[in-house]
Assembly symmetry: C2
Homo-oligomer: 707 residues x 2
């Protein structure tokens, strides 16, 4: 611990101008942050790791606006400041997430709080730095003050002046979607237009700045530092994207605007989300970091006993791959002479089909069945930008709510509600109580929500403050009804699942579904996800596809994966609500491989990052919560690799049966994706496990104590 | 009746190009509309009155956009049309409004329907003209068609090419407010910037086009024609303003946009509101016209027995004039050590004060008491543009909901609920059911809603399609709970009170309140209102101020009115929910004058326009619904005038007592506003009543049958 408190009361002596070189610093381990004010009164900070520059001196501040509700008046808030004081404190606590990759988290930091005042005014701004062993979080705090009450953020001006032309793994800064494939490039080479233009598989794209990237932004320096910039606790604020100056490697905060161009509406006292810089000389440390979770507030839900991890199957992949439809009819106006909807004969969400999934789930110990396309409206809900795409209580005529709930309950299976909004959020908010009452009355314990399409209120974006608040409102409402939520197309997570633990998973990234309806994602995709999208929280990625060439009408389409890699994803992609996404019949064709999906937990006591390099490979071992069983997942990009996993993390003196679900010797994602081999080995904590991964392949291992 | 059907099947002969002069016409009485298509396939119409040009040949059409929910594609819809057919029909019916200026309305028109098709496409457009004795309504209809389903209106291009440089009575075309004072000018002189800039008393102004005016636009031609342009049945569309070409006197429809600039989101089959042109050589005929009501759909509420006319007093004028406050505390954070709000001692909406109003109402046969400032949040609700200014169920600590309801019920008085949103509409919509349930559970039968401030969803405007739909949603929800609504700051009415008769009144104009908190409205204001704002429906103008110099802190402030004129407004400004706006003590100081307010009905069998000239004077006589009693209201601008009212409308052979509440001989709005004289005269249908109106004065007369 190396916090130095070097705050000197220079302001008492009127020495501010000459004291510009004055530096306040805080540190922990190898990480150090420095703060100063320059001669213009601009607040500045910098970050080093082991005395290497990570973020060079970078400015902090805002363009604010007051009186936005009547006649807006600009209020510059990035210079003219004087330091009026500072404080430090330390904390070292542990806490236990309701669901998680680990069951115990240490929250250990040194905190430096800076108090600023605009000269010759009453205007106050605090900046708080928290320094952890694995990085720095900082946020702006607006104290209660006389002359600033309600105000608007026109721009946040936070800079991250990178200390080098880092290698970056990035997606475009899009106001509406996080579903792009990742590009690997030098910071100097960032230009999102090629990937934006080619991503015709993303229905709503909204990129205003060709040099904007989304966070989490993963980077690597030439001298081997791994650096991750993101944010924590995004609440009542818009998502932060980063504008890249490719010449100077200066990144600037670029907040998602609302319909009028404003970025956030605030009232003092208040604060922004934390801006996070995670840094280490080991890639594995990035994945092991709990800094973002630590920067979030504890659970606002007192009794969390009803929040449960779940594995589920779903009436879904068959629609994604074109076998059937969400809609009951071909057109909204397909009605017969009596006014009854004419079925198209391909509607998947029907009672009989759902029963088939319930039977399959019950037989295989799967907790739940998701059903999409159960409610009326799918014929023309998408793309119309209409006010009311759906109600959330009216089933199609072939979906019997009561019968299915009784059938599922009898078999010990839950049905997962589906509330797709198609972006019609005002419509959803009007019906929120009705929708959740319907779930409660009919025995649903969780809901998958979705926001495919342009948002209404028109002009709002998926990642703007209004929508951020909406998603949280839904989480709160769901908590009132003891219902868990899994949100598709929200803003990308920033650890707020700590605060709202019933928000068990999100999509907010390029999921496995792109392998169904599009040309998919490259083999390295899942090796980047843990360093980017997953930094903020669990992802409903929908792994577990066994039939890797699935698309009868287009023989070129296949997953960029082997079957073994699909199994490994259950370990490498964390989600306490985890889908087995393929069709029952495809699992029934491979019961031996399916055994891993049956066995693998989705909630964990411990996570060890064995080996990891973004864009290349990820190997993790996790211990199932409340068990002695370990599960290893190893995935690679398009290159075959071998790994040796040291099993020293196993309990000393105990014997375990390791079942290795690996790529067959001749497996290859392109030419032979479904070739796998299963072998069983007895192991102890002295064993070393060899894993051979095919091109685009993976390996999954269950390690179960032998008693 | 003079409908000529001259549709000839020229398209069958491929003669379209040469047939451009082909005209289709419809007429009734002196009014005639003509339709044609020019060589570019542009639809055109013109209107004459008694063979005088009113609207010269003017084009019709749209700029549409398809696929707005994904990738918008423009679809020009104003030329390239061919005529594929036309139809005519006639109708002559009578109907009875639930509440109204008259109890029986004749709906008599000839209708011409034009069927158009875009050449070489499947795209269809119908234009429907309804010709009445007093004007023309026309609307666009989009039939169900193959290649146009969901679409967006980028611009409506309807033109009104005025046949002369008319005198106009106008307010600026503002997206957010109708509360400007009227300007009288030639069309060629229209420029709204002076009045926009000087109207600092209007908190939210949003004028994009300095040559835009609001409708109803009242005009008068040099040769004595009175012409009124407005719209009817504004539902699921944005309000129409008019862009004025001051050189050519061409008016073009200018719709209020949404946050993204679009004007309306529609799905075929559908139609626009009716564009209305009312025309006569007598000003009185404009006021007597029921065309706008006739162009609206019949009531969608089946059982309307709970919809009642109401007179009310309210805890309101004392806040408007600065005697007290809506808020309970001075600041939102005024709390004592125990966290309890600190009262400011000036909160008007308190139990004792409300009881005083209830007592006064009960004693004087007033139906109801409005209470503003009863619920928490007023300290900082206004101007902050914050998401949640109010809930609608939490009273201030000094307002006892149950006690007051019991007290009021015991005395036979209703309390009117107040739901101010301060523009926070998403917030209101989320709580709508809760708010109305609260009213129902606590015995409220009506609610005054308000929208002071910028709208949330941010970027939406008061008069845009989304808000138009919102107000209707509230009316529908209110109807579900059998509650009447009085909406302040909605879009200006277009007769939809016929369809939603529980929407009993609106403000949507410059009400009497401007005389309280601002420098008021000129003396001619109320002589223009019936020709403009009131054309669309009842106005909650809040007349009846007796203390005309009211503002202790600013001795220059006074109403531009005499006391007698305030009484006359109960007849000249129609509203079935009508306020007696002054304080009880001011009425108690003039019990003889207050008698008129006690006597005057707010729902009528018959209305006779005795004399009227916009900007100068209005004299009306109305018969109270279900009674034999008549009430006359006469008002003048700043000029004193004498009127002789021929009482031949009284029943033959009956004897009546006329009580004339007139300006005293020495009355003058400026120097002696509160001087009135009351005289009683026995009259019959052969009598003629002489009324002398002071400068800025008026006269009110009750004529009650003597039995």
């Amino acid at each position: 611990m190396s916090l130095k408190r070097i705050f000197i009361l220079f302001i008492c002596f009127g020495l501010l101008k000459t004291a510009v070189a004055q530096e306040l610093t805080a540190g922990m381990g190898k990480v150090k942050v420095s703060f100063s004010i320059n001669e213009k009164g601009m607040p500045l900070y910098s970050i080093t790791y082991d005395q290497k520059a990570v973020i060079n001196s970078s400015s902090l501040g805002f363009d604010l606006v007051t009186n936005a509700g009547l006649t807006p008046r600009p209020l510059p808030f990035s210079n003219g400041f004087e330091l009026t004081g500072s404080e430090q404190k330390s904390a070292d606590e542990t806490w236990h997430p309701v669901l998680g990759e680990v069951s115990t988290i240490r929250d250990h930091y040194n905190q430096l709080t800076i108090h600023l005042k605009k000269k010759n005014t009453d205007l106050l701004l605090d900046i708080v730095f928290r320094v952890f062993e694995d990085g720095v979080g900082f946020r702006y705090e607006f104290p209660k003050q006389k002359t600033l009450n309600y105000f608007t953020v026109a721009n946040e001006l936070t800079q991250f002046n990178l200390a080098g032309n880092y290698q970056a793994f990035w997606i475009p800064g899009d106001y509406d979607t996080n579903e792009y494939p990742y590009t690997k490039s030098k910071i100097s080479e960032i230009d999102n237009q090629p990937v934006v233009n080619s991503s015709t598989d993303i229905c709503v794209r909204n990129v205003v700045d060709r040099y904007a990237v989304q966070t989490p932004l993963m980077m690597k320096s030439d001298d081997g530092l791994y650096i991750n910039i993101h944010e924590a606790a995004l609440l009542n604020y818009s998502a932060m994207q980063l504008h890249v100056d490719t010449k100077t490697q200066q990144l600037t905060s670029s907040l998602v605007p609302d319909a009028t161009g404003n970025k956030a509406y605030l009232k003092a006292p208040c604060h922004t989300p934390w801006r996070t810089v995670i840094v280490s000389n080991k890639a594995a440390d990035i994945l092991a970091s709990r800094m973002i979770l630590n920067l979030n507030e504890p659970s606002k839900i007192e009794n969390t006993s009803w929040i449960k991890p779940m594995k589920f199957v779903g009436v879904w992949w068959e629609m994604q791959t074109g076998k059937g439809t969400w809609a009951y009819s071909d057109y909204a106006d397909s009605v017969d002479a009596t006014g009854k909807a004419i079925p198209n004969g391909k509607h998947c969400g029907n009672t009989n089909n759902v029963k088939r999934y319930i039977d399959f789930a019950a037989k295989n110990g799967i907790d739940a069945v998701l059903v999409e396309g159960w409610n009326t409206g799918w014929e023309d809900a998408f793309g119309a930008w209409k006010e009311k795409p759906f109600d959330f209580v009216t089933p199609y005529p072939d979906f019997n709510v009561k019968e299915l709930q009784e059938y599922a309950a009898k078999k010990g299976v839950k049905i997962i509600m589906h509330n797709e909004t198609c972006g019609g959020v005002t419509n959803y908010e009007r019906q929120l109580d009705t929708a959740f009452r319907f779930m409660k009355n009919n025995g649903y314990s969780s809901v998958k929500t979705g926001y495919v399409g342009k948002i209404i209120p028109r002009g709002e974006y998926h990642d703007g403050q209004w929508m951020v608040n909406h998603y949280v409102r839904v989480a709160q409402k769901a908590a009132d009804y003891n219902i868990m939520i899994d949100v598709h197309e929200p803003m990308r997570p920033t650890g707020i699942q700590r605060t709202y633990p019933n928000w068990v998973a999100s999509e907010a990234g390029r999921g496995n579904e792109y392998n169904a309806f599009s040309h998919g994602s490259p083999c390295d995709h899942e090796t980047i996800l843990p360093f980017t999208r997953l930094m903020g929280g669990p992802m409903d990625y929908t792994p577990g596809i066994f039939k890797l060439r699935y698309y009868s009408s287009d023989s070129t389409r296949q997953l960029h994966s082997t079957l073994a890699k699909q199994l490994a994803l259950y370990v490498t992609i964390y989600s306490p609500l985890q889908m087995a996404a393929d069709l029952p019949e495809n699992y029934e064709a491979h019961p031996d491989a399916f055994q891993f999906i049956k066995d693998v937990p989705v909630d964990w006591d411990t996570t060890n990052i064995i080996a990891a390099e973004p864009g290349d490979y990820v190997v993790m071992a996790r211990k199932g919560k409340g068990t002695d069983n370990w599960f290893v997942g190893a995935i690679t990009d398009e290159t075959s690799r071998n790994f040796t996993v040291d099993l020293s993390f196993l309990d000393k003196g105990k014997k375990y049966m390791a079942t290795v679900y690996g790529d067959a010797a001749n497996a290859d994602w392109k030419t032979n994706p479904e070739a796998y081999a299963i072998k069983k080995i007895t192991v102890t904590n002295k064993s070393r496990l060899s894993l051979s991964l095919a091109n685009g392949g993976g390996a999954a291992v269950s390690i179960v104590q032998v008693r």
